[in-house]
C-alpha cells in the first residue's frame, strides 16, 4: 500500500508511522510516497533518527550498529538526514535512545540542519541590492510613469499589465523571505526542544 503524506515535524511523522503499524501496515520505504507492507504482528515500532554522514564507511557502520542491536534500517540515505528504523528483535531496546540527553541530541542536529538551510538565504537577502524600505512600499515597485495618477480602465490596464513584471522582479523577495523565515523558525523550534529536553535531565 502507498500513501502520500508530507511532514515537517519528525515527531508527528514517527507517531503516524506507528499508528499505521498498529493498524497492521509496516513502513518499508519512501520514494515520493510512503510504502507499506501488511503484517500480521501489530507490535512493530518505527523510530526516526536524524543524522547525515561524511562517507559510506561511517554510514554503513551506523546502520550495522542499529541492526546488531535489533533495529533494522528501513529508509534513509547517507545525506537524507532522516533515518528510519524498525524494531525487529523483541529483546531490542524499546527506543533507539536510552537516555534523555542523546534523545535531545536529535533535535540539536535537526536545528543545525535548518540553520544551514536558512543562513545562505538570509545572507542573500541581506546582500541583495533591493532596499528594505522599497519593500515596505509596494507602490514603488511599479515603474510605469504616472501609473498612480491614472484612473479607471486606463489604470487597471496598465496596473495589470505591469503586475507580472513586478512579481518577476521581486521574485527573490516574494519567495526567499517566507522560505528563509520558515527555516529559521524551524531551527529555533528544534533548538528550544533540545534545550527543554536537555534541561529536564538536570532536574531529575
Amino acid at each position: 500500500m502507498k500513501k502520500f503524506r508530507f511532514f515537517l515535524d519528525i515527531d508527528k511523522e514517527e507517531k503516524w508511522l506507528n499508528t499505521m503499524a498498529k493498524q497492521g501496515y509496516i513502513f518499508i520505504g519512501k520514494l515520493v510516497r510512503y510504502h507499506f507492507r501488511p503484517a500480521q504482528t501489530e507490535t512493530s515500532t518505527i523510530k526516526i533518527d536524524y543524522r547525515s554522514f561524511k562517507n559510506q564507511v561511517d554510514y554503513q557502520d551506523y546502520r550495522t550498529l542499529f541492526e546488531d542491536s535489533g533495529w533494522k534500517h528501513i529508509a534513509g540515505s547517507k545525506n537524507s538526514g532522516v533515518q528510519y528504523f524498525e524494531r525487529i528483535d523483541e529483546n531490542a531496546s524499546k527506543d533507539i535512545f536510552s537516555d534523555i540527553s542523546s534523545k535531545a541530541g536529535r533535535y540539536k542536529r535537526l536545528s543545525e540542519m535548518y540553520l544551514t538551510l536558512a543562513l545562505p538565504l538570509t545572507f542573500a537577502l541581506i546582500l541583495s541590492p533591493v532596499k528594505f524600505s522599497t519593500l515596505l512600499h509596494p507602490m514603488s515597485w511599479y515603474l510605469t510613469p504616472g501609473l498612480w495618477e491614472k484612473a479607471g480602465i486606463s489604470f487597471w490596464w496598465s496596473f495589470l499589465f505591469e503586475t507580472p513584471f513586478v512579481l518577476l522582479r521581486n521574485l527573490s523577495w516574494v519567495i526567499l523571505i517566507p522560505i528563509a523565515s520558515f527555516f529559521l523558525i524551524k531551527s529555533m523550534r528544534a533548538r528550544m526542544q533540545y534545550r527543554k529536553m536537555r534541561n529536564s535531565t538536570k532536574h531529575s
Binding site: 543524522r51 554503513q60 557502520d61 550498529l65 542499529f66 546488531d68 533507539i96 536510552s98
Partner: protein, 105 residues
C-alpha cells in the same frame, strides 16, 4: 594539580573507556558495558553512536583498522588512558574514604 576537564566521567563513559582497552566495534561495546555494569546499563544504538562520536571528537578513543567492512573498530587512545586512570584514582580515593568512615563508626 589541576584536574582534567573531562573529569569526572559519567558511569557510561567510564565503562565505554574501560571496555575499549581492547579493540571493539559498536555492538560489542554495548554488550561489554552491559556486562561490566552487571546489566544495569543497557545502551540503545542511537545513544551509543552519539557517545562514540563524542569520544572520538575528544580524542579519548580512535578508530583502528577493521577487517569487517560493515563495522568500525575502536580503541582507547593514550589521552583516554590517562583520563581513565585519573578518574579511577578519583573513585578509589572516594572508596577508601568511605570504607574508613564506615569502619570507624
Amino acid at each position: 594539580m589541576s584536574r582534567d576537564k573531562h573529569l569526572p566521567l559519567t558511569e557510561t563513559v567510564y565503562y565505554i573507556l574501560l571496555s575499549l582497552l581492547e579493540p571493539a566495534h559498536g555492538y560489542l561495546i554495548m554488550k561489554k558495558v552491559e556486562d561490566l555494569s552487571k546489566g544495569e546499563i543497557k545502551m540503545a544504538a542511537g545513544t551509543l553512536y552519539g557517545a562514540i562520536e563524542n569520544l572520538l571528537k575528544l580524542k579519548l578513543i580512535e578508530p583502528v583498522h577493521s577487517p569487517d567492512k560493515r563495522r568500525k573498530i575502536y580503541l582507547i587512545t593514550q589521552t583516554g588512558r590517562v583520563v581513565l586512570q585519573q578518574d579511577f584514582e578519583r573513585i578509589q580515593h572516594m572508596v577508601q574514604l568511605t570504607e574508613k568512615a564506615f569502619t570507624e563508626r
